[in-house]
Amino acid sequence: MTETVTSPRVADDTTRTGGPAGWGAGRRRARAARDAEFTAFVESAATRLRRSAYLMTRDWHLAQDLTQHTFTKMYTAWDRIRTGPNLEGYSRRVLMNLVFDQQKRRSGSEIVLAEMPDQPDGTAAAGSPELRLALVDALARLSVEDRAVLVLRHAEDHSVDTVSTILGVSVSVVKMRNARALARLRTLLGEDFRLTE
């Protein structure tokens, strides 16, 4: 069980090597090609995915864990999904399902959030630690479904249609949750946190 992962260096067209002796080597090359393709996908998608996981969970370690799990799951199904039209969307769906499960499991032992700071009173400049934390804390106060819509729609810039596909809910539900979540954010963060719609 100590299989070493072959270094990603072989292209797809070498997968079909004929000849009796070429069989094992061909399979190894096919796997190397698959692993290279998968690695490239991870490298392109990991940062954004992990940051969304953080916005969902307020916890970088957990975000890392959930992202790792997402990629592991995707690798197990890679042959089936690699040619799919929307790998990015698929990865979001896997991640969000993991987040939903995770939240459900820990909801029994939910820790009480610290008091929200009474700010912002206009002193917290955008990008300051206060506002940065304030946004993440405020997100944590939304329902996980509403939070998912905000993160996918506004942090990741997906269209309403894409968000609806990722979450498996109708377009009108996405719009409704989005409006509700934005209103809630505005209440939590104060008018100073300007949100244009």
């Binding site: 069980m1 299989e3 992962v5 692993d35 998968f38 690695t39 991870v42 490298e43 990991a46 940062t47 992990r50 940051r51 953080y54 916005l55 969970t57 916890d59 970088w60 370690h61 957990l62 890392q64 864990d65 959930l66 992202t67 790792q68 799990h69 990629f71 592991t72 799951k73 995707m74 690798y75 197990t76 199904a77 890679w78 896997v94 399902n97 993991l98 499960d101 995770q102 499991r105 820990r106 032992s109 820790i111 955008a126 990008g127 506002l131 940065r132 946004l135 993440v136 997100l139 993160v151 506004h154 942090a155 810039d157 946190f193 300007r194 949100l195 244009t196 719609e197």
Partner: protein, 204 residues
């Protein structure tokens, strides 16, 4: 459409501590590869069982079902069957506050009892929890519920039992891990550094 909000979100993740995507891909391939191999094994076992059944019916012979065994039983537990780390916990070889001790699938009553006795008599242990296969299986099924074929291929006996420990003093963790790693019946010992409110053992 909402550039302002987008900026706020970007700033909210600006304290990203960073990570290594290559490492992440590597880990996914190693763990996911194990799941793939296991699935293939299961499929082969299923196919073999099907053939036996068909032959049995065709020949009119009442074959007693013989449980087919995968020829090469995995010697390590697939990472996919490991529980998730608790929120806030990070893997640490040294300075771990919490330790999970996973038992092998062949662990005997006596070995399990010996490990338990050792832990109960160990002054470094502050809290101790035992997770049995059934409980591990419930969590596993929940975690992988969108992969029903995989869940169907795994039963409680495929999942490791574990002792979860919170140490009184994190500085004792290297010696602690080393000691229990040596015990017969132990598959793997994993130390994590966790906040106080995390589950004992650092895993869910």
């Amino acid at each position: 459409m909402d550039a302002n909000l987008r900026e706020h979100f970007d700033q909210a993740v600006s304290d990203d501590p960073g990570f290594d995507p290559g490492e992440m891909a590597h880990a996914a391939i190693a763990r996911g590869g194990r799941v793939r191999r296991r699935r293939r094994q299961m499929a082969a076992v299923g196919a073999a069982a099907g053939v036996v059944l068909v032959l049995g019916v065709a020949g009119g012979v009442n074959l007693r079902s013989q449980p087919a065994q995968p020829s090469d039983q995995p010697t390590t537990v697939a990472a996919a069957m490991m529980p998730l780390a608790s929120p806030g916990c990070s893997l640490k070889a040294a300075g771990a506050t919490d330790v999970a001790i996973f038992l092998t699938s062949e662990v005997t009553q006596a070995q399990r009892a010996a490990i338990l006795a050792a832990l109960q008599g160990d002054s470094r242990v502050e809290q101790l929890v035992f997770e049995d296969r059934q409980s591990a299986y419930e969590k596993f099924r929940e975690l992988w519920k969108d992969s029903p074929d995989f869940v169907a291929a795994v039963s409680p006996k495929d999942l490791p039992e574990s002792f979860r420990v919170r140490l009184a003093d994190a500085s004792t963790s290297p010696a602690f891990v080393a000691k229990y790693q040596e015990q017969t019946g132990v598959q793997d010992v994993v130390g994590r550094r966790c906040p106080q409110n995390a589950a004992v053992g650092g895993v869910q």
